[in-house]
Subunit: 236 residues, 2 copies
Amino acid sequence: MIFRQLFDSESSTYTYLLADEHTREALLIDPVREQVERDLNLLKELELKLTYVLDTHVHADHVTAAGLLRQRTGARAVASHKGAPCVDVKVRHGDVLQMGEVKVEVLETPGHTDDSVSFRVGKRVFTGDALLVRSAGRTDFQNGNAGQLFDSITGVLFRLPDDTEVYPGHDYKGHTQSSIAEEKRYNARAANREREAFVQLMGNLNLPPPKKLKEAVPANLACGVISPTQTSSPQA
Amino acid sequence: MIFRQLFDSESSTYTYLLADEHTREALLIDPVREQVERDLNLLKELELKLTYVLDTHVHADHVTAAGLLRQRTGARAVASHKGAPCVDVKVRHGDVLQMGEVKVEVLETPGHTDDSVSFRVGKRVFTGDALLVRSAGRTDFQNGNAGQLFDSITGVLFRLPDDTEVYPGHDYKGHTQSSIAEEKRYNARAANREREAFVQLMGNLNLPPPKKLKEAVPANLACGVISPTQTSSPQA
């Protein structure tokens, strides 16, 4: 399998490219609209055909490239059945997406948002904002729910094998990956904490709203193909 | 082998952690002084003992953490015999550093600076600024020499097996790795270009001096343990 981790420095978002090296089919997880040319160029150089674009959830901090990539390549957009209505393939817990020899298992991991999913591929899991390196996504908007996030982290992700490699949706300190074993021991929000204490902690973070919340969410509900200005008036 | 890629967003520097999972010995390649606490904390969490700190060259854009890490852990600093006099182990082309089952082969790849080396570990090569993703380090200071860099890239690095994974010292567009095959085909500076044309291209880049040149170079010649202010007067 071909695997590449890509970074968008403005939003600190990680995008992942996975491909079957024989069939040359590829998928992107959480591509960022501003990076669409970089990502299309890399696909071309690696002689890959984009088959799927997966979003882990409706993002509030950046606009997805899913819609643009669908227009440019014919790829199908994939996300949770609880998320953006614009996607082509609406997935549920336990669904499997097969692309050549690349097998993607869908794990519903709500709590950061109600539509959050993780994607497990072999020994790797792509956790979006449900589980970050030593952290976890905030739960104070977009139907976030701290109790639900605790259940997703401890009941779904922490039950994966210890040596599962964790690839997060973001990182702000320069980490690129972690493992389930490490997060069970060292996650600053969820490790060694009871559900109630986690809910209390997440309720007291007092973070400012994400800068792009009002433009990113409506844009992402349309797979990123309407401009922020078109969507900002109904929000105002 | 344990492998981690780490990023310093201020200088866009990649630091690499490699460790033998049985002996728990670890080495860091190109650690950044501002990230010393992050890196020490990661070593502690992973229950690793830092044995070596390797620098690919005397950097001009950030200060190495080598000296601080040596003070804090007893690790030995490693770099080219042509580079910083402060290091403990001065290496040459073909030298091998063995750490448990981790075998590091030294490749002299001068041209960005006269002391630039790459480190080959199994199917990975850590190229510092000699070879970047689709690019190559500038050659207009610190005894840089474009002809020499061309010879290092095409005569040393491009002779590695095509599927060798390339891990650069920096990236400014969000790429985290490449391969020798890709760089042979797509490197914007060195691929499909004759030596003379490469020298001409590198001579016409007209880049401003690195912001930290005057403080970073003297600090790095002392493994980063003298403060920039102490070193700035003799430079002025």
